[in-house]
């Protein structure tokens, strides 16, 4: 009993007090700053340094929907690409994820998700989500589960993962969608009543990521259904997910 009390005292309060103010360590690889002027001469090397083909050399841009944030391009970029510690990466459109030269995190943060009054009215106070891993490697899955743990405590905002799609207002997809998971993913979305939101988390779900060329995928889901929110990363940090969803709900 004494041990239990002592353990609880040591445990203390673990929840991050203010999610809006939480910062990540400097070496976290978040929003990329691009400077086209510095890329002269080495652009093809830059594009060649990307394992997922996220970088286009001319004009220089980086697609965060494909980027796995490994930082390899930064090593050879001569300053043309620099990953900042900024973790606000969510976007309401696929095109919005493409970062061009000179774009700053501030501008991105203000414009990437935009005004969604209807979403706020419907889900602003409570959003229940069904997570479907469709060949996700467990990286995104672990970070999404962590979003609900004692540290990040996403439940404080009324956002939770639920067991049944019948209880859900939306779906969170991770993984590149294997052929073997395509039917189950379709069943899950069709079990969720409208209106519903679709959130794609991680490079694999957004673009196929490292697996984009695999014949074992079936991404036809994305031809039929429209994604409402993209959360890039490999895997995205729990704060990236929570802040993205809060922004989408106009809670932040």
């Amino acid at each position: 009993m004494i041990d239990l009390l002592s353990l609880r005292k040591k445990h203390g309060r673990q929840a991050i007090p203010d999610i809006m103010k939480a910062q990540l360590p400097d070496n976290f690889r978040g929003f990329p700053l691009l400077n086209e002027a510095l890329s002269a001469g080495g652009r093809s090397a830059l594009a060649g340094a990307c394992p997922t083909g996220a970088i286009q050399a001319s004009p220089l841009h980086l697609d965060m929907g494909k980027c796995i944030f490994c930082g390899e391009c930064e090593h050879v970029s001569n300053g043309a690409i620099r990953f900042t510690g900024n973790h606000l990466l969510g976007s309401a459109s696929r095109e919005g994820l493409v970062v061009t030269s000179g774009k700053t995190p501030d501008v991105y943060e203000r414009t990437a998700i935009g005004n969604r009054r209807e979403i706020h009215r419907l889900f602003g106070r409570s959003l229940k989500l069904r997570q479907v891993s469709a060949a996700g490697c467990n990286g995104c899955e672990m970070e999404l589960a962590a979003a609900g743990n004692v540290n990040f405590d996403m439940g404080r905002f009324g956002i939770d993962f639920v067991a049944s799609p019948r209880h859900a207002d939306g779906i969170v997809i991770t993984g590149p969608v294997s052929r073997n998971m395509a039917p189950a993913l379709r069943d899950a979305i069709e079990s969720i009543g409208e209106p519903r939101v679709i959130i794609a988390v991680g490079a694999c779900a957004i673009s196929g990521g490292l697996f984009a060329d695999s014949p074992e995928l079936d991404r036809s889901f994305f031809d039929v259904f429209t994604v409402d929110l993209y959360i890039p990363g490999c895997p995205p940090h729990p704060l990236t997910f929570i802040r993205g969803v809060l922004s989408f709900l106009e809670r932040a």
Partner: protein, 495 residues
């Protein structure tokens, strides 16, 4: 016929591996395994002509030796299965059949591994589950999508009342074609990143197996300092997952203090990986020839103080958890795998050690900096959820000690060297003890120095069948607990 004796991460010329007649190969394999050797890998390598070469890698754990041989068989032919004599081969032979078409004649259970599952592709042969007959029997089907935020797989229980008589597990939903992608795009950076996603909870484990194999094939030795940083990262990964699993096991028996305390410690552990590599799972840290990120003086102090704090809290939390009678009544004598069963089906890692098989790649086949200090392969005899949980605790404490020692003795010098071209016509087996157990990557290069075969075995490949056996005659409500005590990878199995 003599098999070639090699050690872990030793490249050998493909031409030196004895290719023997399939019947001698099979007999030699069975004979060696009945004399105490263990099956590490057994796979098909389809050739450009009309043949398939079967390769088997057997481990002599006590002697740090691996034995390799191959056998050439005509494509589409069959061969007498090994499984009736060595049950541990069952899933390897199912995979061989699926990947090469070679039929293991007499295999008792030629169930699909990754293809032809759940009637998804009409061109593939559908599979019929085992069925238990009787008026009182009912079936419970779970998945592929599970209730939690986890990977997909299908479980089918045959029960009477609450009692599970049989659990059949169907995997393959996560199949991404990973081995084929390793051959398709041979850019070293792409392959490195792919290795990190074999199982996203074992980034450093699979990453280490990959870089060790590539360095062996390129004839380079990673600098000492980088080897130490790799050890620190691998042990941090183990500590993080083990703490997370103790949290989840506590949650599964409604012990909420344990759930939140171990959960918060797990956050601390993986945040330490973030301090080193910028990723909570160590992504981007490893590269053939060394590591991408160094550990600075300030970082050393941070890591050491985190390690001390984690040790202090883990000891206290484990004392509280493992003396709570409500926890013990759920953990003890639940989901038992006997040592004989564990050996028969070839369990590895903490699941094997919990059933009295003291094998650990770090101790038996040391690689990198592990060659320079002792690692103990702790084991228990009871084979139940308690043993699998308690070993996690013991291993956390050992890993924290290793991290502390490596940080304190971190040498000077560079953290990476340039890698040379990959040698052609080589064969290398790279073993690494991930937190789940033995990871094996076997790489075969063609004459041009390109990878011709990249064979991956996650410890889950050995262990999933163990979970199916562990829940027999248990209450179905103990399934989540048994499942978490193994915590196996879906994508590591499905590839």
């Amino acid at each position: 016929m003599k098999w070639l004796k090699i050690i872990n991460v030793q490249p050998v010329a493909l031409a030196d591996i004895p290719l023997i007649d399939i019947h001698d190969f099979r007999a030699g394999m069975i004979h060696r395994m009945h004399s105490g050797l263990r099956l590490v890998q057994f796979f098909a390598h389809p050739q450009e002509d009309t043949t398939v070469t079967l390769f088997a890698v057997l481990a002599d754990d006590g002697q740090a030796s691996l034995y390799v041989a191959g056998a050439k068989v005509a494509r589409g032919a069959d061969y007498p299965a090994v499984t009736p004599n060595v049950p541990a081969a069952h899933v390897f032979e199912r995979e061989i059949y699926e990947q090469s078409g070679l039929l293991p004649q007499g295999h008792p259970w030629l169930k699909p591994v990754r293809k032809g599952i759940a009637g998804i592709d009409p061109s593939e042969m559908p599979y019929e589950f085992f069925r238990m007959n009787g008026d009182e029997v009912h079936e419970v089907g779970v998945g592929p999508i599970h209730a939690g935020v986890i990977e997909p797989g299908h479980f089918r229980f045959s029960c009477t009342g609450e009692t599970v008589h049989h659990l059949e597990i169907e995997l393959g939903f996560q199949h991404r074609g990973l081995e084929a992608l390793m051959i398709r795009n041979q850019h070293p950076l792409y392959q490195m990143k792919l290795a990190e996603t074999i199982a996203g909870d074992t980034v450093i484990g699979h990453g280490t197996a990959f870089v060790n194999a590539m360095e062996a094939l390129g004839g380079v030795r990673c600098p000492r300092r980088a080897e130490q940083i790799r050890v620190i990262a691998l042990e941090l990964e183990r500590v993080g997952v083990h703490l997370g699993d103790l949290s989840a096991l506590s949650g599964d028996v409604a012990y909420l203090t344990g759930q939140s305390v171990f959960g918060a410690m797990r956050t601390q552990a993986i945040n330490t990986s973030m301090v080193i590599s910028g990723s909570r799972f160590g992504r981007g840290l490893l590269t053939p020839g060394g590591v991408r990120f160094d550990i600075s003086g300030a970082m050393k102090r941070d890591i050491l103080s985190t390690v001390d704090e984690l040790q202090d809290k883990t000891e206290l939390a484990a004392e509280v958890l493992f003396t709570s009678s409500s926890v013990l009544s759920r953990f003890e004598r639940t989901g038992i795998i006997s040592e004989a069963t564990a050996r028969n089906i070839g369990l590895v890692g903490p699941a094997g050690r919990a059933s009295g098989i003291p094998i650990d790649v770090r101790a038996d086949f040391p690689f990198g900096a592990y060659a320079s200090f002792p690692v103990h392969a702790f084991s228990l005899k009871s084979g139940d959820v308690f043993a699998r949980a308690y070993l996690r605790y013991v291993e956390i404490i050992q890993s924290l000690r290793i991290i502390r020692e490596q940080v304190e003795t971190l040498g000077d010098g560079p953290v990476s060297v340039n890698t040379g071209p990959i040698k052609g016509g080589q064969f290398v087996v790279s073993l690494c003890e991930g937190w789940r157990g033995e990871i094996a990557h076997t790489v075969i290069t063609g004459r041009d120095g390109r990878c011709a075969r990249y064979k991956i075995k996650d410890p889950s490949f050995n262990n999933w069948f163990g979970l199916a056996l562990a829940v027999r005659m248990e209450g179905i409500s103990d399934f989540p607990l048994c499942n978490k005590s193994f915590n196996l990878s879906y994508c590591g199995f499905d590839l």
